[in-house]
């Protein structure tokens, strides 16, 4: 009745989160808790990556602004940021005025700006280009994401770690999909647990107990056994996360928007010290086709949200003493057309800057700003840095992984991390 081969295959490969074996559950009992013990120091080998997705196609030209060239002002008669408002980095390049906190971090050498990031034969579809960025494969449809593959490759490092990675949000990005490691999406801390009827809180413990008793049994049927063990593992690891985050007692005030609150949840998970290495959060709304500077949700406002959220997060991890262990990376599926459109907006484009932020980052401008004179046939920027070079740098120099195994081939590394 049981497809034994498949069952075994799954059973063995699901090492991290699915807790196919009870012995793994036993490991994480208070007292001799190797996981929590090792990770709670959060130093030395602990190197965390926080990925920030700017969903919709961030207008790179109005983020890292080539204000020194008249071509920018020619292409954007209505949308250009006036030179007086720019936060200058060089005589040519400056940041959008809403990036005040990031500018301070930049000045402190904590922000690397990788300019002109893209890939060959840019795809201007949100879906497809997002997939390309997430899978790190512009050529074929791929089932796994680049960080999912990293987690698979590194599975031995996560022995006993129940939450090697987590997405904050309601949909798991393909970036984190692997073959072996299971990454949960945590929309809210309150929601990431075995929920019971909120109207009858007094019933909660009884119900959880009943659930645990039933799923703690062994069954004569292997499917039922597998389902019960996985289910028990799900409930238990969620509960442990709930317990772990209680260690967080920061006084830093985050803005109330979902992006900043997502970053706060990441800080809480980090404070829990349960060995989570990859964290992911998304902010949407960057598809600014119309009234980009004035719409109800507009581009400057989004940049301000990013700026304030990252500022609170950075201050938080600094006061926790873990800023040294954390690198943040932003990306978006594409930049936008150089020339503004007739609706006071910008259409889908190609290359755009990425931000890599942290104490171990070599701050400054990296890569070349794409030319505004030499555009492609669509009137879009021609990329100067392949996005997989950014990934390769992070994989090799931050996460200590073999980038070739994960990205399929070798890409030139960039120097945005301190050695």
């Amino acid at each position: 009745m049981l497809n034994r081969r498949e069952f075994l295959k799954r059973g063995i490969t699901f090492v991290s989160l699915s807790l196919a074996s009870r012995s793994m559950l036993m490991q994480v009992t208070p007292g001799h808790d190797t996981v929590f013990g090792q990770a709670s120091t959060l130093s030395g080998n602990s190197r965390l990556l926080v990925v920030i997705q700017l969903n919709g196609g961030n207008d790179g030209l109005n983020t890292v602004i080539p204000y020194g060239t008249g071509l920018y002002y020619d292409a954007r008669p209505k949308l250009a940021v006036p030179p007086t408002e720019i936060l200058p980095i060089t005589g040519q390049i400056g940041l959008h005025p809403k990036f005040t906190n990031l500018k301070k971090l930049y000045d402190a050498g904590r922000v690397a700006i990788v300019q002109g990031v893209g890939y060959p034969n840019a795809n201007r579809s949100h879906f497809r280009s997002t997939d390309i960025w997430m899978t790190a494969n512009p050529d074929t449809i791929e089932k796994t994401g680049w960080l999912g593959r990293y987690l698979d490759e590194s599975i031995a490092r996560f022995h006993g770690v129940k939450l090697p990675a987590a997405n904050i949000g309601g949909t798991l990005p393909l970036t984190l999909v692997g073959e072996k490691v299971v990454v949960p999406s945590i929309a809210s801390l309150e929601g990431y647990q075995f929920l019971t009827d909120a109207r009858y809180p007094q019933e909660r413990e009884k119900r959880i107990q009943l659930f645990r008793t039933i799923n703690g049994q062994s069954f004569e049927n292997a499917y039922l056994d597998y389902l019960a063990q996985t289910g028990l593992g799900a409930q238990q690891s969620a509960e442990e996360l709930q317990t772990a985050v209680k260690k967080y007692n920061s006084k830093i005030e985050y803005p109330t928007d979902p992006f900043a609150q997502g970053l706060k949840l990441i800080a809480q998970i980090i404070a829990g010290g349960i060995g989570t290495q990859i964290l992911y959060v998304t902010i949407g709304g960057f598809d600014t086709h119309a009234e980009q500077n004035t719409a109800r949700v507009n581009h400057p406002m989004l940049l301000e949200t990013v700026d304030k959220g990252l500022d609170a997060f950075y201050r938080d991890i600094s006061q926790m003493g873990v800023a040294d262990d954390i690198v943040m990376m932003t990306f978006s599926e594409f930049g936008r057309r150089v020339r503004e459109n007739g609706s006071l907006g910008t259409d889908h484009g190609t290359a755009a800057p990425m931000f890599v932020i942290g104490d171990r980052v070599k701050g400054g401008l990296h890569g070349e700003h794409p030319s505004l004179t030499k555009l492609d046939d669509n009137g879009d920027l021609i990329y100067t840095v392949d996005f997989r070079s950014v990934y390769a740098t992070i994989l090799e120099d931050w996460l200590g992984a073999d980038s070739q195994a994960i990205l399929g081939k070798r890409f030139e590394k960039l120097g945005f991390l301190k050695q």
Binding site: N3, T171, L172, Q217
Partner: protein, 483 residues
């Protein structure tokens, strides 16, 4: 005591569901196969309804059981005789009232979920879902939601027709052409993508399931790709671009001639390997994994004896003894769609459909967006700690839906017209409604004790607290994850 339906149950949802097996029933009853009635009991009917559809209420199972095995199978199969206009009208109204923008991804998912939840032709939607997984095409590359909908309508329209017709329609489907790059398949630079998947995943399979021999060669793919050159799209429709079609002779599956794409499909569907590949895949989707060779061969025979009729194959499949055997019962893992749609149908819930795509995505089944061209792997691949927690919390969401943005589940509707003097009887009834879920005596007793704790009295308070709680916990049983 006896319970009457509370006012929270919306009338429409209730009627929709109870009428499911309505009008065409009389006709089917006339041809009732009396010999099989005895063994085709409520549990067997519920089994058929879970597999050939998305589960249903006890009343639906009983009505199906009364038709006998053959009558029930024919009732489900001859769905064109079932009037489903109420669902179609309801869907139209829903689109209007909800401002459902069918050019977008989430709305088209909701559009299909509405059909699956409210249809009186469950097999039609189940077959469409099977074909969506078989000819797996994803919006992440196609990017145009209306083209995904168009493909979905094609799969629905040809779901039980000849496999040759269906495959040909899919080959001409704009979403498929974009998905497998056939729009770039031209005379001077053939693109093999479609031809390869046509053989590997849609028809022949890499190896014959019985002989284990390769079913085609790399040369067959190369030659077949040439036959599909010029099959492209223009203004959102299929277009045969003769100027980009390779008119030279090609040798495909042992036959040489100036073949076009339809010839290649005709050759492929005529191969025994295709019949076996399809028979095995259908059996594994609808019955159980690793079927015996005799089953595969018998279904392949039906396929050839009926001009590749999918309907004939499905009829044979649903009538086989093995389909009702112990081995088949609960031998599958519920896909997220089966879990969500099935629970809503079993419980006659009237949920706000907008709450469904999120959990479904986290359970790893995004309609119109399968992970790749091989579709969803299914089985235990659905199960991991992340997806299980979402399953449990969906169960809680459904069990505690008391109105507002989530929608309504009215537990009274399940208890209507029945009396439950003892807590054990109520537990057994709920286990029937949700399955049947067969538990060990000790596990069953845990539920009885929970219900009886502090004295059993079936009043509104008990229903709102304990019955909803039991539904949640029963849906969180490992047993409930099986189909």
């Amino acid at each position: 005591m006896t319970v009457t339906a509370g006012e929270t149950l919306t009338r429409r949802a209730f009627l929709d569901r109870t009428l499911l097996l309505g009008s065409a029933l009389g006709a089917a009853r006339a041809t009732l196969a009396h010999a099989q009635t005895a063994q085709f009991d409520r549990d067997a009917a519920a089994h058929l309804l879970r597999r050939a559809g998305f589960a249903g209420t006890l009343e639906e199972s009983d009505r199906l059981a009364a038709l006998g095995r053959e009558g029930a199978v024919d009732y489900l199969l001859n769905y064109e005789q079932i009037d489903d206009s109420a669902m179609e009208r309801g869907l139209e109204k829903y689109i209007q009232s909800q401002n459902l923008n069918l050019t977008q991804f989430r709305p088209i998912q909701i559009w299909w979920l509405y059909r699956m939840i409210y249809t009186k032709r469950p097999l039609l939607e189940k077959m469409t879902l099977f074909w969506h997984g078989h000819f797996a095409t994803a919006i992440k590359k196609v990017t145009v939601a209306p083209l995904m909908l168009q493909q979905n309508e094609t799969l629905r329209r040809f779901a039980l027709r000849s496999f040759e017709t269906l495959t040909l329609e899919v080959a001409k489907d704009p979403a498929m052409i974009l998905w497998l790059d056939n729009n770039t398949n031209i005379k001077d630079a053939p693109n093999e993508n479609f031809a390869r998947e046509l053989f590997e995943l849609f028809t022949l399979g890499i190896r014959d399931p019985i002989t284990g021999q390769p079913a085609y060669t790399e040369k067959d793919i190369k030659e077949a790709a040439r036959a599909f050159t010029g099959w492209t799209i223009r203004r959102g429709q299929f277009y045969f671009n003769a100027s980009q079609h390779d008119d030279g002779p090609k040798t495909v599956l042992g036959r040489t001639g100036n073949w076009n794409g339809n010839d290649v499909i005709a050759f492929a569907v005529a191969e025994r390997s295709t019949a076996r590949f399809l028979a095995k895949k259908l059996w594994e989707f609808f019955a159980y994994p690793n079927p015996e060779p005799t089953i595969i061969e018998a279904l392949a025979d039906v396929y050839f004896a009926n001009q590749y009729s999918i309907k004939a194959v499905m009829r044979a499949l649903f009538l086989r003894e093995e389909f009702y055997s112990e081995r088949a019962r609960f031998a599958l893992i519920k896909s997220p769609i089966e879990l969500v749609v099935g629970a809503i149908r079993q419980l006659r819930a009237d949920l706000n459909l907008r709450v469904l795509p999120g959990p479904l995505s986290l359970m790893e089944q995004d309609l119109f967006n399968p992970p790749d061209v091989s579709g969803w792997a299914g089985g235990l691949h659905w199960i991991n700690t992340a997806t299980m927690l979402v399953r449990y919390n969906f169960a809680n969401l459904l069990a505690t839906a008391r109105g507002g943005t989530v929608g309504v589940f009215a537990p009274e509707s399940l208890l209507q017209g029945k009396s439950f003097p003892m807590p054990g009887e109520l537990v057994d009834h709920l286990l029937q409604v949700l399955g049947p879920l067969r538990l060990s005596e000790s596990t069953r007793q845990l539920f009885v004790d929970y219900l009886a704790e502090g004295g059993f009295q079936l009043n509104a308070q008990t229903i709102d607290n304990k019955v909803r709680g039991l539904i949640h916990l029963m849906m969180a049983l490992p047993h409930y994850q099986r189909n």
